[in-house]
């Protein structure tokens, strides 16, 4: 799994770290970690709804933040969970643009074993870095 939940980083919230060979992979693994914070088995989410959205930011860190905020937004606004993402990433000048087609379905408590609701992505110890052709992120979610 390209993400790992951390036991001793945050007492009340959920901390995880993710990796990816590319920024796109990192974005995807973080999105899966956010969903996996809320739902135990990601494979129980069927591919019945496609949601298109896009985000842009001045750097990869803010791009990741805004992308994850969308996942949380759709969970409340449309009760949607996603487990597959088609990502189109293009740096345009100084702006990073991300087009997303997210695949998933409506939350169904009978089908999707629940863990804990995510309120927000926090900036506390929020870190993204690229090193030796690998991307890393360290994130704490308010739950």
């Amino acid at each position: 799994m390209p993400y790992k939940f951390l036991e001793d980083v945050s007492v009340a919230d959920v901390a995880f770290e993710s990796t990816g060979k590319t920024l796109k992979e990192l974005l995807e693994s973080c999105a899966l970690a956010v969903t996996n914070t809320m739902i135990k088995n990601l494979e129980t989410i069927s591919d019945v709804v496609k949601k298109k959205f896009s985000v842009e930011a001045e750097n990869p860190e803010m791009l990741l933040y805004k992308f994850l905020e969308e996942i949380i937004f759709y969970k409340d606004a449309e009760q949607l969970l996603f487990n597959k993402f088609e990502l189109d990433l293009s740096p345009v000048g100084k702006i990073w643009k991300l087009k997303v087609i997210a695949h998933g379905e409506k939350i169904n408590p009978q089908k999707h074993e629940q863990l804990v609701d995510v309120k927000a992505v926090t900036f506390h110890q929020f870190k993204v870095k690229e090193e030796s052709d690998k991307w890393f992120a360290h994130i704490i979610l308010d739950v």
Partner: protein, 491 residues
């Protein structure tokens, strides 16, 4: 070692009294005031070191007065620690910070009386918990039974619990027994985003998840500490009460997220505020951004009051149905509704001078000594009722604000406070087994998530009795009664 791993320095604690400990401003560069922890030595020693790092970060913020406080239930969070209290002089560049309030704006507690005894309720306990579980939705992305338009929801965000009462969900007197009478009247919904409304408009009447719960409890005679006040407030031995804990749901979470980003953009560039954690993003209270957030926060406060008001209505419906009597006949009056995630504009005496302060309480409860203007008339001469919720396995408390709270800007603890991460707790307990064990001990639980149940195990929390004892000894909130759980709906 994860690359995000950080270690924290252990401070030296100066003993002020058995329950007051101080960290000097020399602990960290740019601290403007000391940190004070209101806790027993044992609790101070048990807190994770990041608490002191976070409380000392808060001590560097502009306009902070006297001390950056940590209450007895303190544990690390983001920005402020949980159990964090800080007051800023709004006439001396004092700031407002979403990280000092929390994403769950106006998260709080409500306590409801009944005239039923534990023996009346026990035969119906399972039915009650199961019906409550159905009527008060909990869990990830849950939606409420109220189907209202986004325009109507905007009214909720400005009218709070009043909107719920006017819509038929509650009694007029409930407002007399709610902080701010259930309405943050400075709310302005032109200051909230469309996204915030989209996240929250279908969530009125829902608990949420994590540490949110709805509990059926009772009070034993030996657990009534202040007999006269307990009687005055409607408590009697073996009485069943209902307590619940929830907030402003996705609406409040989005308001906080929106303004965090606004503040990060202007804080240093426009106002020259330097911070040690991005979750402490701040703006002067008297700035356009600061005022906008204060008015938006009030919308979150109102959603939360309306949410708890509608949940109260559903609870009354369930009891009425099960006991085949009106809620009025069952004596289902509200004792109080208190917030523990809010910033509040209050006047306090600072070294002999009256100052207008913005008091941030994050995982800390307002605890007002008698005759403070913040106390509803009904409780004016007693002091404000303080509701402190314990873990689902142990117990909870009703206390009363007292004179000692003059030292803490009228603030006290809010719960028992976690001692270990959710991820660790999940590896230590199994939700299904915990549910069976609790049932054998006379606590019937229904949960939206067994994993979530394991995370809320009593062993993952501090000792509630010790937390409350510390606030009692410090004289900031005094014990009235302790409640024992018998039924629990876990979000």
């Amino acid at each position: 070692m994860p690359f995000g791993h950080q270690t924290f320095k252990k401070p030296e604690f100066k003993k002020i009294s058995d329950v007051v400990w101080e960290i000097s401003p020399s602990f960290k560069k740019n601290m403007r005031v000391p940190v004070r922890i209101i806790a027993t030595k044992n609790l101070v020693d048990g807190m994770d070191l990041q608490v002191y790092d976070q409380a000392s970060n808060v001590a560097t913020l502009p306009g902070i007065q006297k001390y950056s406080f940590v209450m007895a239930d303190g544990h690390s969070g983001y920005g402020f620690s949980i159990g964090g209290v800080a007051a800023f002089d709004i006439n001396d560049n004092g700031v407002i910070s979403p990280g000092g309030i929390g994403f769950d704006i106006n998260c709080g507690m409500r306590l409801i009386l009944t005239n039923l005894t534990v023996n009346d309720v026990k035969p119906h306990l399972k039915t009650l918990v199961e019906k409550l579980f159905q009527k008060v939705p909990a869990g990830v992305g849950s939606t409420g039974f109220l189907k209202i338009s986004k325009d109507e929801f905007k009214k909720v965000s400005e009218q709070g619990a009043r909107w719920a009462i006017d819509s038929g969900y509650g009694w007029n007197e409930d407002l007399d027994r709610t902080e701010l009478n259930g309405i943050a009247d400075w709310a302005d919904n032109s200051k909230i985003s469309k996204r915030a409304i989209e996240r929250g408009f279908n969530q009125i009447g829902t608990l949420g998840s994590g540490n949110h719960y709805l509990e059926i409890q009772y009070v034993k005679e030996e657990n009534i500490a202040n007999k006269a006040l307990a009687k005055k407030w409607g408590l009697f031995p073996n009485q069943v009460v209902i307590m619940f804990h929830c907030g402003s749901r996705g609406f409040g979470h989005q308001i906080a997220s929106d303004y965090l980003q606004v503040f990060l953009n202007v804080m240093e560039r426009k106002y020259g505020i330097k911070i040690l954690d991005r979750e402490l993003a701040s703006a002067p209270f008297n700035s356009t951004e600061g005022q906008d957030y204060f008015k938006a926060m009030a919308c979150g406060v109102n959603m939360s009051f309306a949410n708890r008001q509608v949940i109260l209505h559903r609870i009354r419906e369930v009891f009425s149905e099960v006991f085949k009597q009106d809620a009025e006949n069952l004596g289902m009056r509200q004792v109080f509704d208190v917030a523990h995630n809010r910033a509040s504009l209050e006047t306090h005496d600072v070294d002999g001078e009256k100052k207008e302060l913005l008091v941030h309480r994050k995982g800390a409860t307002g605890s007002y000594y008698p005759y403070r203007s913040e106390i509803p008339d009904l409780y004016k001469e007693d002091g404000s009722p303080v509701i402190i919720g314990g873990s689902m396995e142990t117990g909870s408390y009703l206390l009363v604000g007292a004179d000692g709270a003059k030292e803490t800007f009228c603030s006290t603890a809010h719960g028992s406070g976690r001692t270990m991460s959710r991820t660790r707790a999940r590896n230590m307990w199994r939700g299904e087994k915990l549910q069976k064990d609790m049932e054998q001990r006379g606590i019937f639980v229904k949960t939206a998530s067994f994993s979530g149940l394991a995370e809320e195990a009593g062993g993952a929390y501090k000792d509630i009795d010790e937390v409350v004892e510390a606030t009692h000894k410090a004289g900031i909130s005094l014990k009235v009664a302790r409640f024992i759980p018998i039924g629990n709906v876990k979000g």
